[in-house]
């Protein structure tokens, strides 16, 4: 098989606003191999969550539309797939973990029932079998006394434990791909590390591919094989993880690296990126990052920049990629 497990190709998405349709994703392209973990990185507003929701077909049907591009899982086209078929794939072949463990589980049902419901949806079988499977996955994600804990309600779990439950639910049908949208952002630092460990060991054990959506490059370094950096609805850089940290090829990546809290201890100060992501619908002309870029030149302000392939196998969306030497974190 030549094609990667997940292929997102030239994906463009628009949202409805009071003033008409506005583009929020512009030609997003990346792939994820089997068993691989890819970081989807960017500030809020970069389009990373929209990208992950559109992979699952979870964008609101009335407020949004895919205007171009293709999303293929194992060679099967997901864009334009009938609702019911897509529903049947969600939770089975591809599933998602969300940022807010406190609100992402239904407070009115026992956690075991919620997992068993997903199992029965995709695997069928009796209630008893589904429940057994639910207890089994809860054990797998490291919940002690899974048999009795399955009978608890979400409010009886701590945030970190709930995120484990979410992961158990996502894993319950052994999907090929899990999209984890900032799964550790809402958690304490120590709990973050535990959840990351868990995700890593799940990947190693089951060979599940993971798209790890985050704004934190530090986490990406911990867990990902490759990174896709997004800015203002576009992919600005794709790279192997080590290469990205050593020699970033886009000024935005450089800025993100210098804003990593992990660097503060070494340099004594936390760099921030001046300005903020432009709102969709009022994108700057030329390179979308130019108003915030420290290396900006006149031609950056009016030249549309395409993604360029680089020698190491990565890509960059910077005009000056050949003459800039950017600072990494190494």
């Amino acid at each position: 098989m030549s094609e990667p497990l997940l292929v997102v190709e030239d994906l463009s998405v628009e949202f409805a606003t009071d003033t008409g349709w506005v583009q929020v994703l512009d030609g997003v392209t990346f792939g994820v191999d089997r068993g691989e973990t890819v970081g989807l990185v960017g500030e809020s507003g970069s389009g990373k969550t929209v990208t992950s929701l559109s992979i699952l077909g979870l964008l609101p049907p009335e407020g949004s539309r895919v205007t171009a591009g293709s999303i293929r899982l194992d060679g099967v086209e997901l864009v334009g797939m009938p609702k019911r078929r897509l529903e049947a794939m969600r939770g089975d072949e591809i599933s998602m973990i969300f940022q807010e463990p406190m609100t992402s589980l239904d407070p009115a049902f026992r956690v075991g029932d919620q997992i068993a419901e997903v199992v029965r949806r995709h695997r069928g079988g009796s209630r008893r079998e589904a429940w057994k499977r639910a207890v089994e996955v809860l054990e797998t994600v490291g919940i002690a006394n899974a048999g009795s804990r399955a009978r608890s309600y979400p409010h009886e779990f701590s945030g970190g434990m709930r995120q484990r439950v979410m992961i158990a639910m996502a894993l319950s049908c052994e999907p090929k791909l899990i999209i984890a949208d900032e799964p550790t952002t809402a958690l304490d630092v120590t709990i973050q590390a535990q959840v990351l460990d868990l995700l890593r060991s799940m990947r190693d054990e089951f060979g599940t591919a993971v798209v790890f959506v985050t704004h934190d490059l530090g986490v990406v370094a911990d867990i990902c094989d490759r990174a896709v950096v997004m800015y203002a609805g576009q992919v600005v850089e794709r790279s192997e993880i080590d290469a990205l940290y050593a020699t970033p090829h886009h000024p935005y990546t450089e800025a993100l690296l210098s804003a990593m809290p992990q660097l503060v201890a070494r340099t004594g100060r936390l760099a921030t990126i001046p300005g903020s992501t432009p709102p969709a619908g009022s994108m700057p002309a030329g390179c979308r990052f130019h108003p915030r870029c420290g290396h900006v030149r006149d031609r950056c302000r009016d030249t549309l920049v395409a993604e360029r392939r680089l020698d190491g196998g990565g890509t960059s969306r910077c005009l000056r990629v050949s003459d800039l030497v950017l600072k990494g974190s190494a």
């Binding site: 979870l58 969600r90 969300f98 992402s104 639910m169």
Partner: protein, 314 residues
């Protein structure tokens, strides 16, 4: 859960006390001499004195209250001043009619409100939503006796599908019983349906915005399962509350609807008692209906425990 239940039941006691005070105070409100009112305007002096003695009106008010409340606690609410029938017996005899009517109204209300509320929540801002919202506004504004009369004109007189008046007991067969309750049930249920529609629409569309709904969808649950299971159960708490509130309205409305459709229920008994100034009967009906309202609210509160597991710990 047990502690919650016990505490909730204990909360009824002071309420019951206040209600009994209020009901007892009704006698004190009788203008002039209650003995004359109760004995009748043509009674002789001796009859009036006898009445006064029988009702204990010569005793201090507190003693009167204590004896009345004491009897009430043992299930003795006195007897009718006119038929000598015991108040509890008369109420018990009429109760099945009013219960049937109330249940019919609730069923009619839910049959209208649940589909309307769900459709409105799912089609927010579209014509289905506007229609349901309009129905909710109009439904609480219609005088129910008028609705009843219009229904009789349409479905009993113009198109004689249902009986216009009268009640067939359940013991005479389920079919006639149900048939006789259709129009009264719709009449009494319209306003309740309007309230529930409004509440369900708001509550369900809030619930459907929640993160856990997104989780359910992300795990491939069908739209139907997401709405019917996760949506409705979580949206139910405020809806059930509203349904509980409606019980007082249903009991009051049943007076009217029983009058319109000639049903021999509690409401009919109440009106007779009022027209005859049958004070013990009036007191009895008020006590029983307040008791029903309190019990229904208790059941509603306890149902929160099932609907919302967090409450059980409180």
């Amino acid at each position: 859960m047990l502690r919650y239940t016990v505490r909730r039941i204990l909360m009824i006691i002071p309420l019951l006390f206040l209600v009994s005070l209020g009901v007892f105070a009704l006698v004190l409100l009788i203008p002039g001499d209650p003995a004359i009112t109760i004995a009748g305007e043509n009674a002789t002096e001796a009859q009036i004195d006898a009445t006064r003695e029988r009702l204990g009106l010569n005793d201090p008010v507190l003693v009167q209250y204590a004896s009345w409340a004491g009897n009430a606690l043992t299930g003795d609410l006195g007897s009718s001043l006119f038929s000598n029938e015991s108040v509890v017996g008369a109420i018990g005899g009429r109760f099945p009619v009013t219960l049937s009517l109330t249940v019919a109204a609730m069923v009619a209300a839910l049959l209208i409100a649940v589909p309307a509320g769900i459709t409105a929540a799912l089609r927010r801002g579209r014509w289905q939503d506007r229609g349901a919202t309009l129905f909710a506004s109009v439904g609480i504004s219609l005088p129910n006796f008028w609705v009843g009369i219009l229904l009789i004109m349409a479905f009993a007189l113009a198109f004689p599908i249902f009986p216009a008046v009268g009640y067939t007991p359940l013991s005479d067969g389920v079919g006639p019983w149900v048939l006789g309750l259709v129009l009264p049930g719709i009449t009494l249920g319209t306003a309740v349906a309007a309230e529930i529609t409004r509440q369900l629409r708001g509550s369900l569309s809030d619930t459907l915005q929640q993160d856990f709904i997104r989780t359910a969808r992300a795990n491939g649950l069908t739209a139907r399962a997401v709405i019917a299971k996760h949506g409705l159960k979580n949206a139910a708490v405020p809806v059930v509350t509203v349904m509980g509130f409606q019980i007082g309205f249903l009991l009051g409305g049943s007076v009217i609807v029983e009058r319109v459709f000639g049903l021999p229920g509690l409401g009919d008994l109440a009106i007779r008692a009022v027209l005859q100034r049958d004070i013990p009967m009036i007191q009895g009906i008020v006590v029983v209906s307040a008791l029903i309202v309190m019990l229904v609210n208790l059941v509603v509160d306890l149902s929160y425990g099932w609907l919302n597991p967090k409450v059980r710990q409180a």
